[in-house]
Amino acid sequence: MSGWFEGLLHGVLTALGVSSLLTLCRLILGPTLPDRVVALDLISLQLVGSIAVYAVLTREPGLLNVALVLAIISSLGTIAISRYLFHSGKGEP
């Protein structure tokens, strides 16, 4: 792996980290719960991306397994929370 490429990968990881931090700001600021759910969703997407990048950095294809599962499963969490919000908003189970 050439030096510039590795540097780029580190830079990309850092940028993704910064992006996650920005997203976390929205999670902190809210103001409504759906806003936070969206932020959480985005953070998990950023994580999927980061894992892919890290897989490139370490040349470890096994990590993509994690990205795949994370991609599937994180939406599941979002769906569950949305469903909960929907139901409690209506005031019925």
Partner: protein
Amino acid sequence: METGLILVVGMLYAAAIYSMLRRSTVRLALGLVLLGSATNLALFTTNKVTRSLPPLLPKGGAPVGPLADPVPQSFILTAIVINFGMLALLLVLVHLAERTVGSDEMKHLNTEVPPPSAPGE
């Protein structure tokens, strides 16, 4: 990374304990989630080889770099699963308790009677 991670682990513990001390059963449950995370990471800090490859052996041939210590990993895996089971149970208890007493405040969960003063000896 290790040093920073360890400091963060300490902070996680502090947060977990603080949350557990919030006199609310819901916060207690949240605190226990944090406690689990903190503990898993604490176990992980014994993994001495930083930024190493996953302990996956290549098909036929030696691994190209230093592999991470698989032992703490297997421990943490076990701990995660156990913690998950416990947490689910706790959540149900918290919920049932909330439903029974109508609040998540711990003070409502106190039927341990104060010791009555004894009749005369």
